[in-house]
Symmetry: C2
Subunit: 160 residues, 2 copies
């Protein structure tokens, strides 16, 4: 069980991780992509809600810049729940629920007040927590009742 | 840069991670949820393509079991690309592109030959690589051309 103890975050580390999550939200809402970019490691990857895969801090920042000019110029996000756990020495995962304001996709689709669930994997390098991997998914409100674990229609999908 | 060197996976570790990814695919295609469950750590989380969040190995296995009975009983997956990188001491991320066979959702929607992009975060504990976090997203083929980094219509979204 030694390995498991090693994964527990100190209170200080958990607060540092939560500050990075808060800084991501603040940078997004200011549409300040430089402030957003510095939260990532050079080897950071990002997978967005439609499955695009950006590799490296430069791509992650550039792609966010383009979309903030084009799609998210006035779109705010708000974290409604942040769960943080340590998974290894100096490595943590934050699961962040986000309320996302209206936006219009490049294909012309109007997206109204959606909710995302974002996984951020963070590493502590040289004493500083940074995002090394992000993966984001839209929460489908029509599917949620059929969640086999906590949906109210879980029995209809055959959950015991 | 010492910290960065420490994140590089040995060839042996990379192969071990790839074997876990292959074992996930095999267990899925045999619809053998016990074989799938043992690939996860006790503290593993999973976020699926509609944003459901399962916490702990028991929930991850049970939810997969229910959906394999109800939704994926004859649905195969096939990995078409697996990228593996080390992000910390004994921690790796695999990004897995999956071709997913037809299935029908509990709400009655028929999903035809979709493609997913899956992030698996793995940790080496007691010498064994296991999945500690999974996050999966459907690749939207209509959005892909507007990828600011590598879409063929990237200029239309204002990419330089």
């Amino acid at each position: 069980m030694g390995a498991h103890h090693a994964t527990k975050l100190s209170g200080e580390d958990e607060q540092a991780v939560r500050r990075v999550v808060a800084a991501y939200e603040t940078a997004w809402n200011r549409h300040d992509m430089k402030a957003l970019g510095v939260l990532f490691t050079p080897d950071a990857d990002w997978i967005n809600i439609v499955g695009m895969h950006w590799t490296g801090q430069d791509e992650v920042q550039k792609a966010h810049e383009v979309y903030h000019r084009r799609m998210f110029a006035t779109t705010d996000i708000r974290s409604t729940r942040v769960e943080v756990r340590g998974i290894g020495a100096g490595v943590a995962v934050a699961v962040v629920d986000l309320a996302v304001g209206d936006f219009k996709t490049p294909t012309g689709q109007e997206i109204k007040e959606s909710r995302d669930r974002l996984s951020l994997t963070l590493v502590k390098r040289d004493g500083r927590w940074e995002i090394v991997h992000g993966h984001n998914t839209v929460i489908d409100p029509a599917a949620a009742p059929y969640d086999p674990i906590r949906g109210e229609k879980m029995r209809e999908v055959g959950a015991p």
